[in-house]
C-alpha cells in the first residue's frame, strides 16, 4: 500500500542497473523552473563543459529576486542586480529557453507563475534552484529545491541522483476558525515539530481541513514545508486541484486533458499506506500565529506572550532564545499584542496570490493604516495576480488605506532589490523566514498571515484579526 510520495518516486526512477550508487536513485525531472540568482554559475559550467540542456521544453525561466517593484520603465538601477537579470536573459535567449522577461505581464515569483500557467501539473517532478519549490507539491507533485550544482546536473541530464526520503503524514482534521488560514496551519505545524522536525522527510498534508483549503491555501502550506525542514511537501489530487488547472496555458486540452485527469486521480496515498511518522492537529484549536524570534519555530499565538528563556532547561536552546530576543528587541513575557510594528509587507511566494490579497483587502477596507506605520506595501505574486486584483478593485482598497501597490517579485521577503528593512525596524510580514537580517541587515521580522499583517497595519501593533470589527 503506497503513499503518494512512494507513487511519485516509483514513477520517476530511471533504471540504471548501477551497483555503485549506494542508496541513491536516478530520478527523472519533468519540470525545471529557473530564476536569476541560482542559475548563472550552472549555465556557465554547462557551457564550459561543452554541454547543452537535455530537454528545452522542460524549462521555464523568470527573474524574480532582483526585479524592482517600483516603476520599471528605467530598468534595474543597481548594476549588480541588473547584470544578474541580464545574464539570465542572455542564457535563455542563447539556448532558446522559454522565459517571461521583466516587462512581460506573466512575469512574477517563480512559485506563483508555475502553477498559474499550468506549468506545474500533478504527477510531475518539479525542481528549481530555490528551497521554496516545495510549494508546487500542492498539486500532487514531487517538488523540491536544489543547489546550483544540481541545477547544472538537471540541465545536462534531465535527472538527479537523490536518496529517497522518509514519509511524514501531517493530518489536520476539523474546521478552521474564521480568520484562521493556511499560513496559521503552517506556522502551528512548525511550532509543533520544529524547524528540523521534517528533516529527511517528505511531508504529505492531509485531513479534512486540508481538503477544504483552496489551491492557494495548499500552496502556502506546502511552501512552508521547507521551514519545517522537509524538502518536499505535498497534497493529494482532488477536484479542487483539477478545477484549478483546467484551461491554464500549459495544461493539456481536449482528449489529452481527459487522459491526464484519469491518471491524476490516482495520485493519493492508499488508505492503508504506512508513513514513517504521523503528526495530527485539530484545526479548530489553531489560532492566528505570530513569530517572535529568528527561526520560524519561534512562534506563538496572537493571544500569547513572548516566552521566557529562564524557563528553558536545555542550555543551547536557552542561549538561542536569549540571542533571538536580544536581536528582536523583545522582553520575555511581553504580550504579543503589545508589539508595535514599523513596516508591513504583504507578498512573497508564501502569500502573494489572489486569495491572499483578497483576505488582506477585506481587513483594510474603509480603514487607514496607523500613524506609526512607516511603510505598508502589497507586492502581488505575478503580473496576472496584479491584473486580477485591479479588476476586483483591491488596489484601490489598499492605496486608500495608505498601502503602496507594487509590481510583482520577491521583494522584501529577502530584500535583494531595494525593498528592505533598516536596522532595528520591525515588520509584520507574510513571508516565510524570520532569520536575522533576512529582510534587511538588522531588520526584525514577524511572520503572520495576510489578514494578520493587514490587521497589524491598521492597528499599528499585532492584533487578533478575529476580533476586529468589520
Amino acid at each position: 500500500m503506497q503513499t503518494l510520495y512512494d507513487k511519485l518516486w516509483d514513477q520517476h526512477i530511471v533504471p540504471t542497473e548501477s551497483t555503485d550508487a549506494g542508496s541513491m536513485s536516478l530520478i527523472y525531472i519533468d519540470r525545471h523552473l529557473v530564476h536569476e540568482v541560482t542559475s548563472p554559475q550552472a549555465f556557465e559550467s554547462l557551457k564550459l563543459a561543452g554541454r547543452k540542456p537535455w530537454r528545452l521544453n522542460s524549462i521555464l525561466a523568470v527573474a524574480d529576486h532582483n526585479v524592482p517593484t517600483t516603476d520599471r520603465s528605467d530598468g534595474i538601477q543597481d548594476p549588480i542586480s541588473r547584470l544578474q537579470v541580464d545574464t539570465l536573459d542572455q542564457n535563455c535567449d542563447e539556448l532558446g529557453i522559454t522565459q517571461f522577461k521583466m516587462n512581460d505581464l506573466r512575469q512574477g515569483i517563480v512559485h506563483v507563475i508555475g502553477p498559474e500557467q499550468g506549468a506545474t501539473l500533478p504527477g510531475m517532478t518539479v525542481v528549481c534552484g530555490d528551497s521554496h519549490t516545495s510549494t508546487h507539491g500542492a498539486f500532487g507533485c514531487l517538488a523540491f529545491g536544489i543547489g546550483t550544482s544540481e541545477v547544472e546536473h538537471v540541465l545536462a541530464t534531465q535527472c538527479l541522483l537523490i536518496k529517497k526520503s522518509k514519509t511524514m503524514h501531517v493530518v489536520v482534521e476539523g474546521q478552521l476558525g474564521l480568520g484562521v488560514t493556511a499560513k496559521d496551519i503552517a506556522l502551528a505545524i512548525i511550532g509543533k515539530i520544529g524547524t528540523a522536525g521534517g528533516t529527511g522527510y517528505a511531508i504529505e498534508f492531509a485531513g479534512s481541513a486540508i481538503r477544504e483549503l483552496s489551491m492557494e491555501g495548499r500552496m502556502t502550506l506546502c511552501n512552508m514545508a521547507i521551514e519545517a525542514g522537509a524538502r518536499a511537501g505535498m497534497v493529494a489530487v482532488d477536484d479542487t486541484t483539477i478545477n484549478y488547472i483546467k484551461g491554464r496555458p500549459f495544461a493539456p486540452q481536449g482528449e489529452m486533458w481527459e487522459r491526464a485527469v484519469t491518471y491524476w486521480k490516482t495520485l493519493h496515498s492508499e488508505p492503508e499506506a504506512v508513513f514513517d511518522r504521523t503528526v495530527t492537529l485539530d484545526a479548530a484549536q489553531i489560532k492566528p500565529q505570530v513569530t517572535w524570534g529568528t527561526s520560524p519555530e519561534m512562534v506563538t499565538t496572537i493571544d500569547g506572550t513572548v516566552p521566557d528563556p529562564a524557563r528553558v532547561t536545555d542550555e543551547v536552546k536557552r542561549k538561542d532564545m536569549q540571542h533571538a530576543l536580544n536581536y528582536m528587541g523583545l522582553k520575555a513575557n511581553m504580550p504579543i499584542q503589545q508589539i508595535t510594528v514599523d513596516k508591513v509587507f504583504i507578498g512573497s511566494c508564501t502569500n502573494s496570490r489572489i486569495e491572499d490579497l483578497r483576505a488582506a483587502a477585506q481587513v483594510v477596507k474603509n480603514k487607514k493604516i496607523a500613524a506609526n506605520i512607516k511603510l505598508a506595501m502589497v507586492v502581488p505574486g505575478s503580473g496576472l495576480v496584479k491584473q486580477q486584483a485591479e479588476q476586483e478593485g483591491l488596489d484601490k482598497i489598499f492605496t486608500k488605506a495608505g498601502f503602496e501597490w507594487r509590481e510583482p517579485g520577491c521583494s522584501m521577503c529577502l530584500a535583494m532589490n531595494d525593498d528592505r528593512l533598516n536596522p532595528g525596524e520591525r515588520c509584520a510580514s507574510t513571508s516565510n523566514r524570520n532569520f536575522e537580517g533576512r529582510q534587511g541587515s538588522g531588520g526584525r521580522t514577524h511572520l503572520v498571515s495576510p489578514a494578520m499583517a493587514a490587521a497589524a497595519a491598521i492597528a499599528g501593533h499585532f492584533v487578533d484579526v478575529r476580533k476586529m470589527n468589520g
Binding site: 530511471v14 533504471p15 540504471t16 555503485d20 550508487a21 549506494g22 542508496s23 541513491m24 527523472y28 519533468d30 540568482v37 554559475q41 556557465e44 530537454r55 521544453n57 529576486h65 532582483n66 543597481d78 549588480i80 547584470l83 544578474q84 501539473l121 504527477g123 510531475m124 528551497s131 519549490t133 536544489i146 543547489g147 546550483t148 544540481e150 547544472e152 546536473h153 545536462a156 541530464t157 535527472c159 541522483l161 537523490i162 524547524t195 528540523a196 528533516t199 529527511g200 521547507i226 525542514g229 524538502r231 495544461a251 493539456p252 489529452m256 486533458w257 487522459r259 491526464a260 543551547v316 538561542d320 529577502l414 535583494m416 523566514r433 532569520f435 536575522e436 537580517g437 533576512r438 541587515s441
Partner: protein
C-alpha cells in the same frame, strides 16, 4: 571537484543551533554571477561591525572582535564544528561555496538541513554527522585547548582527537566514492544517457502532456 582523503586541521566552533544560510552568506552577495570569492563575506553580519556589500574588500573592514572566527586562535581553521540543523533555510549553494572559499573542508554537526547537506557533497566539502553528546565533548575540548585539532579520515569514516579518541561516522557509499576520487557527477550520470533516453521515450508515450 577536489579529492578528499584525510585532513588534520584546527577546529573552529560555532556554538549556535539552526545556523541558517542567510547567516552563512547574506543575500546581497548572491547577486554575483561567479562561483568564487564568497569566502571574504562568510558570516558577514556576525564577522564584521560594518555593513557588507558586494565588491568590498573585507580585509579593510571592521571585524567584530567577539566573533569566533576573528579570534587569532582559530586562524587557519579548516574544520568547523556546529550545532543542530546547520545550514537551514535557502537552497543557495553560495553557502557551501563561502565556507569552502574561506578555507573550511569539513563541517561536523549533530544534524544538517537536507539541501545544504546535499550541496556540500557536490563541491567536495565534507559534512559529518556526529552524536550531539560527542559534539558537546568536542566543544569543551576546543574551548580548553587553543590550536585544538581533529583528524578526519574519509576512507575509514572516522574523526579522531589528539588524545586518540575515535568517532566513526556514516556516509553514503556513492558520495564517499565521489569524494575520494573527486568525480564529476554529471559525467557519471551521462554514462547512463541511453537509459535516460529510453525512460523518457516511454514516459512521452504514457504521459504525452508532460512533453508539450
Amino acid at each position: 571537484m577536489e579529492k578528499f582523503h584525510t585532513l588534520t586541521a584546527v577546529v573552529a566552533p560555532i556554538d549556535r543551533a539552526n545556523v541558517d544560510t542567510d547567516a552563512i552568506i547574506p543575500k546581497q552577495f548572491l547577486k554575483s554571477i561567479k562561483r568564487s570569492g564568497f569566502g571574504q563575506y562568510l558570516f558577514d553580519e556576525w564577522r564584521f561591525l560594518d555593513h557588507g556589500e558586494p565588491g568590498m574588500d573585507s580585509s579593510k573592514r571592521q571585524p567584530n572582535p567577539e566573533f569566533v572566527l576573528n579570534q587569532p586562535r582559530y586562524r587557519g581553521a579548516q574544520i568547523l564544528v556546529a550545532r543542530a540543523n546547520f545550514g537551514c533555510g535557502s537552497s543557495r549553494e553560495h553557502a557551501p561555496w563561502a565556507l569552502q572559499d574561506y578555507g573550511f573542508r569539513v563541517i561536523i554537526a549533530p544534524s544538517f538541513a537536507d539541501i545544504f547537506f546535499n550541496n556540500c557533497f557536490k563541491i567536495g566539502l565534507l559534512p559529518i554527522v556526529l552524536d550531539s553528546k560527542i559534539l558537546d565533548l568536542i566543544f569543551v575540548e576546543v574551548a580548553m585547548h587553543p590550536g585544538y585539532q581533529l583528524t578526519v579520515d574519509l576512507q575509514n569514516q572516522s574523526v579522531s582527537t589528539p588524545d586518540h579518541k575515535l568517532f566513526e561516522f556514516e556516509i553514503d557509499i556513492f558520495r564517499k566514492h565521489c569524494l575520494l576520487n573527486g568525480l564529476d557527477e554529471i559525467g557519471l550520470t551521462l554514462q547512463h544517457a541511453d537509459k535516460i533516453k529510453a525512460f523518457e521515450d516511454k514516459r512521452r508515450e504514457q504521459q504525452p502532456w508532460l512533453f508539450a
